[in-house]
């Protein structure tokens, strides 16, 4: 490799990029990950992951035969949010819950009707399956809601001045979780292409020794890195565009911001993603290890530590600190904004700056590791 590291010869670079592109096109698995994977991911997140309300299977025991108990039981049966399974006693329902077939049980206690007549209603008992905390919360909330409505209909509500809460959800009044899941999955797709694919490709060259052969040619370090990055950058942007079109056409996600902002944000995110991929390959020089490292440092943090599904503010402080090191954390909020809300340049600029900083850091690391291993 030439001593002049910063040299960039356009003809040589073009030749190298052509070589890289031919390699990509020749290997079906690369195209698989660039175009089939995005579609698959988008469909999985669009259809498979839904945080919207849905019906929950619960068991019910009605121990009272009064008209009030029957009317409440009927209200519960009629709810679209609950799928009621009835039993005369509690024990079989408990077994069903241990076997993971129902998520909660409701017991309308003996003497329920009479207690209402006494104007001192007995509480309805709800036992949820705590092994799935989120569903447990939903189940309790649904029963609470149905019970509240029923109490009102029965004219049992005490004469209290009530404070009603009038909610307005900006940009997403129908509360479609797809609206934030699709931008999130675009982030994951781009992480995969930027980090995983780059790490694998370059690690293979190290493993096979073709990298040393490249080093013996007069190309400079900059040309070498650029020739690896440009094709994968194009591939990453291509699959981003594919995902965007699918998100809009198939899943009905709006693109309220400008296409220019979208491309700018995506380009900024690919910088740290590609840099991390290069660094991993140079540090591991082994395809198996590189693949594992890319999964654990690229895919999983983008999925779990980026605010994609799990709120960062709810995490323990230590972990919140770790999320600042995840580039996807700076990509997901502006990407969601550009899709759902529109252009907000103040926020975009801050996040782009953060992503580029990480990008520079990863490239520096990759560069140093590559150099050291050459000596």
């Amino acid at each position: 490799m030439s001593g002049n590291l910063a040299r960039l010869d356009r003809r040589r670079l073009a030749a190298l990029i052509r070589k890289e592109t031919v390699q990509i096109v020749r290997d079906p698995s690369t195209l698989l990950i660039a175009f089939v994977l995005p579609i698959l991911l988008l469909f999985i997140f669009g259809f498979g992951v839904s945080l919207d309300a849905n019906s929950i299977r619960v068991g019910m025991v009605v121990q009272d035969s009064s008209p009030q108990a029957n009317s409440l039981a009927q209200a519960l049966r009629a709810s679209p949010y609950l799928e009621i399974e009835e039993s005369p006693t509690v024990q079989p329902l408990r077994d069903r819950m241990v076997a993971n077939r129902i998520r909660a049980m409701i017991v309308i206690p003996q003497d329920f009707g009479a207690s209402i007549d006494r104007r001192a209603p007995l509480p309805i008992q709800v036992a949820t399956d705590g092994s799935q905390p989120n569903t447990a919360n939903f189940a309790a909330a649904y029963v609470q809601g149905i019970y509240g409505t029923w109490v009102e209909q029965q004219g049992m509500a005490p004469g209290v001045p009530t404070v009603t809460v009038n909610t307005r959800y900006w940009w997403n009044p129908e509360l479609k979780s797809r609206f934030f899941l699709i931008p999130g999955s675009i982030t994951i797709v781009m992480t995969m292409i930027g980090t995983l694919l780059t790490a694998l490709v370059v690690a293979r060259e190290w493993e096979r020794g073709t990298l040393e052969a490249m080093m013996a040619t007069p190309i400079s370090m900059t040309e070498f890195i650029a020739s690896k990055l440009i094709p994968y950058f194009v591939l990453g942007m291509g699959s981003m565009a594919l995902c965007t079109v699918l998100g809009i056409v198939v899943f009905g996600v709006p693109l309220r911001g400008s296409v220019f902002a979208l491309f700018l944000l995506a380009s900024a995110f690919l910088v740290p993603a590609l840099g991390l991929g290069l660094f991993i390959s140079a540090a591991t020089k082994n395809q198996f290890v590189a693949s594992q490292a890319a999964l654990f440092s690229g895919f999983l943090p983008s999925f779990l530590l980026s605010g994609f599904i799990f709120e960062i503010s709810s995490m323990p402080r230590m972990i919140q600190a770790v999320t600042y090191l995840v580039p996807a954390r700076y990509f997901i909020p502006p990407l969601q904004t550009v899709f759902i809300a529109g252009d907000a340049w103040g926020m975009f600029a801050r996040n782009i700056a953060a992503m580029l900083t990480f990008g520079a850091l990863f490239f520096l690391l990759a560069y140093r590791t590559t150099r050291r291993s050459l000596d």
């Binding site: 079906p28 698995s29 698989l32 990950i33 994977l37 698959l40 991911l41 997140f45 259809f47 498979g48 992951v49 945080l51 077994d95 241990v98 076997a99 993971n100 509480p123 709800v126 036992a127 949820t128 399956d129 705590g130 092994s131 905390p133 989120n134 309790a140 029963v143 609470q144 109490v151 005490p158 001045p161 009530t162 404070v163 009603t164 809460v165 009038n166 909610t167 307005r168 959800y169 997403n172 509360l175 479609k176 609206f179 934030f180 995983l196 694998l200 082994n286 693949s291 594992q292 490292a293 999964l295 530590l305 799990f310 709120e311 503010s313 709810s314 972990i319 909020p333 809300a341 907000a344």
Partner: protein, 364 residues
Amino acid sequence: MGRLKAITIKEFWALVRDPKARMGLFLPPLLQLFLFSYAATLEVRNIDLGLYDMSSGRYSQELVQRLDGSPNFKRIEVLHSPEDLRQAIEDQDVIAAIVIEQDFDRRMASGQSAEIGVVLDGRRSNAAQIVAAYVTRVASGIGAQVSNLPEPEGLRVTNLYNPSLDFVWFNLPSLIVMLGVITSIAVTGLSISRERELGSFDQLMVSPLRVHEILLGKMLPALGFGLLNGAIFIAAAQLIFDVPFRGSYAVFFAALIVFNIALIGVGMFVSSLSRTQQQAFLGSFLLTIPIIMLSGFASPVENMPEWLQVLNHANPAMYFLPVAQSIFLKAMPLSAVISWMWPVVLIAIVTLSASAWLFRARME
């Protein structure tokens, strides 16, 4: 038998010879366990809330104090104009802002019903809905307090098996499943394709080993690692994370073995199909993602559309995830475990025979 032993030992060394590969087998899963078991929570806590109060009387103060006192809210940012409010939400300084109209206090004082507005960030609609529920709960308490009437209990909710609904109790058993999927498929996925790429496949073919011996030799070390990782996780769950393990270890490991064999079958199938390690890796990744995402960890299986639920019957993690959670927390008995796990046995048979068939077909 001697031949099988030899190839198993050879495969074992192929896995752990390289110190970096050794680390790749154990370090990342453990690290992930620590990071993600605390991170993956759908709870919403430490929320920053905006407040645009045009009433500023006794009742609106009371409301604000109650919100401030709630452990779910971290900070209340006072906003002075609709423009402030728009900016705060757009920049995600706050996830929601409460708007109290001028007549709020007058209405409350005269015993009328009153209304407050909450503007929420629809970009994070899931978290926003939970915030709306918190605010509603606090606000409805104000009405009862004003009238000095006791609130009837109405509903008595108990959470069985996990009384405080601790997410770590849900995450740990689930992560054992997810990390198991990633490691098992990756280890076996690369096993045959590595031999092809390095050229040692032909040597294996001319050795006196039979096909089933080669395949078993590749499976056993992977199974060993899967079980060892599982054992480490179970120990960590109890010793470090204080998650109770209430079921039977024998039942858990029996289910884990069945699950791992099914995954190894998936990995072997991909591996026999691929010509290079890179193809094998990408292929196994392409299968790992849906197996994890559709397992019910990210969102309940029942929320998926019908056709996807049908497809999901081929997903071994869809069966093992609830079993792992239930053995941990609910001491799921063997009979119920069998009622969940028998399809996984079928999946294992199908994937293993398919990979053996493909392996043979590719030999010639």
